[in-house]
Symmetry: C2
Subunit: 143 residues, 2 copies
């Protein structure tokens, strides 16, 4: 990894620690004011930290009291001043019979270097869906 990729990998790790600790202050420490999120659930787009913060305030109480974040297939591409990272992940710790148990998602993050810091400018999180049924397909083909 080059130094930029190391910095971005650390920022992503900090974000996961913040999420698991339900630390909303830290969760947005590396977000640019211009962030636009394409989330797994509606709306289509969330613009800016206050809107994304509200979404997390509503979502986090639905998460297991203690949960993990399992990542796979991470790829980082860092340029001079813009970078992209993507991976697949799941939240662990759900009761076995919970609909979210075992659901996997794809995440894409875009960063821009501003004032010497890498800030998240765009985030896209999703699962694919079956076009014949309209149902989400949340398991990768190979576990």
């Amino acid at each position: 990894m080059n130094p930029a990729e190391t910095e971005i990998a650390k920022a992503i790790d900090r974000w996961i620690v913040a999420l698991k600790g339900r630390n909303l202050q830290q969760l947005f420490a590396d977000y640019a004011p211009s962030i636009i999120l394409f989330d797994v659930k509606p709306p289509f787009q969330l613009r800016g930290v206050p809107a994304i913060r509200t979404m997390w305030e509503e979502c986090l109480p639905c998460f297991p009291e203690s949960f993990g974040y399992e990542r796979r297939d991470i790829r980082l591409i860092a340029g001079v001043d813009v970078a992209v990272a993507h991976w697949i992940f799941r939240i662990t710790g759900w009761p076995e019979d919970h609909p979210a148990a075992g659901m996997w998602f794809r995440a894409t993050l875009a960063f821009q270097r501003t004032g010497g810091r890498w800030l998240v400018i765009h985030e896209h999180v999703s699962s694919p869906f079956d076009p014949m049924t309209g149902m989400v397909v949340s398991k990768p083909e190979v576990e």
Copy 2:
């Protein structure tokens, strides 16, 4: 727009022209060999042009004979050697009673400048889903 953004906007326009013309050769003209696609439908990830080409060969016959590509909310962020673009879109021209009629999607594209050219290294396309029902929600809140 700076010159890089103009170049990337043109590459995206060329891609749309290629799609509408079912020109698979042109469709992949700006794809890097390392492209990884997170598509709207399974599988979770498609790696490399041959896999993505096979997907399009299977998909395009299902598209209307003549179709349009309507884009909205495009944002381009081009750095020195990495760039990101995102927007929402729909394919037009479906029969009114077709399940795909009126479906919108979110698209994120990442580019890397290699050998003086901007190549697509990652693509993420999705619709959100309702976590209560598992059903795709393919209409933005504001039409």
